[in-house]
Amino acid sequence: MMKYLSLIIILAGAYLAVPLQFGGNDYVIGIVVSALTIAGIAVAWAMLGNLGGMISFGHSAFFGVGAYGSALLAMNAGLPVFPSILAGGVIAGVVSILTMPTLRLRGPYFALAMLAFAEIFRILAIEMRWLTNGSGGLLSIPRLPTVFGFDFGSRLGGYFVVLTLVLLTVFVYWLIRNRPEGLALRAMHDSEDATLVVGVNATRLKAAVLVVSAFLTGIMGAFNAHYINFLEPDYAFNGSWTTLAIVAAIFGGYKTLWGPVAGALIVYLVDQFVFKAIMPSGHQLILGGLLAAIVIFSPSGLLPWLASRFRKEAGDAAHP
């Protein structure tokens, strides 16, 4: 009951209080949109990391593919923006099939193989000039449209869209992790034999979760392309899309549902609003220190730490 109540409060705050308080301030809303974009990737990443037990260093590949896919569909095929965002996610999901051979790799081998894919896609985006305009990139990508008189292309409109996308991503994650498939995935990396002998087809589940994670990451990339209205290979496939998401997910607690979202919001907003105010350039120095500190003082991430402070049962912390 408490759980639903707090969820309702959070939703009301996100959809009502934030716009009422900051709606007129494009700057604040803009930063929050950026933070939510990272949050969306972080959730998608954590889905693969937590459910699949696979740490990917290459999610920027899916972000970039989704971004380019959607932008090109909207610009060249004249697809309306919202359907093309969805299509961008689908393209990223389809492209993730190419990366499936890496599923048989373990740990760092998998992580780096994904990074290699991201790098390959970046170079392909530079080289395939006929499609992507090469390193010149795409300028003036169509904005989010006006629907029923509400301009989604405004900062506030972008905020509602990205907020909804992030919440949907969390919802998909929640659905999957509570299905037997999700349970099996969570169990798989620590108890592989145990899952195999009860009939779990590990490879197929991992492949499925990879596709879903890529799809959701691609959606975030597609949204960002129409929000920022511009793309170039170095930007779309930038490694920082991955690293920021990983940092956010682990910071917040990548094994929890809301940890990645909380992590992204806190890391990004605190960095931009507080550290940057204290130290206009070089504030990332403080961010680096904060990351190091959280790992040392709260190794399971921020949310589990908060949860264990509020609850007596430490054993519950892994399943809020």
Binding site: I55, P101, T102, R104, L105, R106, G107, P108, Y109, L112, A113, L115, A116, F117, E119, I120, I123, L124, I126, E127, G239, T243, I246, V247, I250, F251, Y254, G282, Q284, L285, L287, G288, G289, L290, L291, A292, A293, I294, V295, I296, P299, S300
Partner: protein, 291 residues
């Protein structure tokens, strides 16, 4: 055409030996402790900047900066280790965040201390050309550090497989508790391995400064390069590092010669992927067996 390819392979070999120098410290820590030090590239870069300060402020030769670089970088490396030991849960993944945080701090620290300007050696000797058999061209520094690279790989391999400390380190890496029973203090050996990784990073940093151009944002790409080579080599294989590095070096250089330099990254990444998909544990990695 033959001249072109010969020079290309030669350049690739030299580049490979230099890459091996950069990767070795990361490979050592990764191989013995399963810790990926994402700040490794920044340590290499730090050594490069120390060489710059030694040269520009005190007129020292870049190699003469090595002792100072070793002290500072090895100390930083040991501090990273001490912080890592404070991680209690999920060490493999949390060490990523910790070292990434440290990498950010080092990058920004370097930017503040040395500014964003590019730096490289001005000592003429390093950059003078050396011509072998009228057809193969290189800079002195490349030959020098290729030789050093091969020697250092040999030395580290010897150290790990033959010396007492090396054996102790391997004992700790395969079974900490058993090693304790044998009278080995895991902490000491692990500190030592981080210190040695720092030393290796220092040598790599001097090689970097005396042959290439350094700037504060370079660290990240050095880490990635080192990491790729380490994984290509296979966990914990020291000779594998040299071979993996040479493979990448030659592939890059042949791509530039036969195709286009813009595709170097594409080819080396494809090569990396193909090797991994054929040999999932890297070139010289131990495979897991059940039974």
């Amino acid at each position: 055409m033959f001249d072109l390819v010969a020079q290309s392979v030669f350049s690739g070999l030299l580049a490979g030996a230099y890459y091996a120098l950069i990767a070795l410290g990361l490979a050592l820590v990764f191989g013995t402790m399963r810790i990926i030090n994402l700040a490794h590239g920044e340590l290499v870069l730090l050594a490069g900047y120390i060489a710059y300060t030694a040269e520009s402020r005190f007129g020292l030769d870049p190699l003469a900066a090595l002792p100072a670089a070793i002290i500072i970088v090895a100390l930083t490396s040991v501090i990273i280790y001490l912080l890592l030991t404070r991680i209690r849960v999920d060490r493999e993944i949390n060490s990523l965040i910790l070292t990434f945080g440290i990498a950010i701090m080092l990058t920004n620290g370097i930017l503040m201390i040395w500014s964003a300007d590019i730096r490289s050696t001005t000592s003429g000797w390093y950059l003078d050309s050396i011509i072998i058999g009228d057809t193969l061209f290189a800079m002195n520094t490349e030959i020098l550090f290729a030789v050093i690279g091969v020697l250092v790989v040999g030395a580290v391999w010897w150290w790990l497989s033959k010396s007492w400390y090396g054996r102790a380190l391997r004992a700790v890496s395969s079974n900490r508790d058993a090693a304790k029973l044998m009278g080995i203090d895991p902490r000491t050996t692990e500190i030592l391995s981080f210190a040695v990784a720092g030393l290796l990073a220092s040598i790599a940093g001097i090689a970097l400064y005396s042959g290439k151009v350094i700037e504060p944002s370079l660290g990240h790409s050095l880490t990635i390069k080192a990491f790729i080579i380490t994984v290509l080599a296979g966990l914990g294989s020291v000779p594998g590092v040299l071979i993996g590095a040479v493979l990448i070096g030659v592939a890059e250089s042949l791509t530039a010669t036969l195709w286009s330099s813009a595709l170097q990254g594409l080819v080396s990444m494809l090569l990396f992927l193909i090797v991994l998909l054929v040999m999932p544990s890297g070139l010289f990695g131990r495979t897991r067996r059940r039974g």
